[in-house]
Symmetry: C2
Subunit: 124 residues, 2 copies
């Protein structure tokens, strides 16, 4: 059974990803969660997270620092600290920093894993 966990985000190590760096703060592997996953992600200059979607999985992006953009279906919106992006399951999106500094965000996903077998019925 999952137990309560208290940690400092600074004590968790980043993993390199194509679009920058990410670290899992809470998830099935690190905390035994069943419904949510929470990461901190740094979007690196010159390495946009390209258009993608998550089958059966919702995402919330909360900008902690830096400036950037979110794109979906040809529309671009500016992001800055305090910006919130809600991305429904199966909805295309791209996220990237603006300029020469990383943009850092808290990333919430629910459920914690994508669900390729029980998505919205869209043909993927």
């Amino acid at each position: 059974m999952a137990e309560k966990k208290v940690l400092k985000e600074a004590d968790v190590s980043f993993k390199e990803v194509k679009w920058g760096r990410t670290k899992e703060l809470v998830g099935p592997a690190t905390a035994g969660s069943a419904h949510v996953k929470v990461n901190i992600t740094e979007y690196a200059p010159g390495r946009p997270h390209e258009l993608h979607l998550h089958p059966g999985q919702e995402e919330v992006i909360f900008i902690l620092s830096g400036e950037g953009y979110t794109e979906s279906y040809g529309r671009r919106r500016e992001l800055s600290p305090g910006s919130v992006v809600y991305i429904p399951a199966d909805t295309e999106h791209a996220t990237m920093t603006a300029g020469s500094e990383p943009m850092t965000a808290l990333i919430v996903k629910g459920p914690p894993e994508e669900r390729r077998d029980e998505g919205s019925g869209r043909d993927l």
Copy 2:
């Protein structure tokens, strides 16, 4: 069907609660989400959020500003910006600021609503 949503947290109004103020950034009512709810909560001085639990619902608390405490089953841990608390479903917890300033946190819940009929089997 839920649609992508972009907002600034500063544009959302707080609602008064017993332990301070809270505002929903993403949830079923405000964004059509089915799996997650994200709030910003300010824990006010002298108004601790007392011990409670959420049937069938996980919670993650990410401290944005201020200093405070989380308590569960007689154990108290200090919180400061960057602290992360994972609270499994059906697990007692209390959250409060320390001193004379509010403590502000991003609150993630999944699923968005408590599930009194399909919890962990604990007698509530």
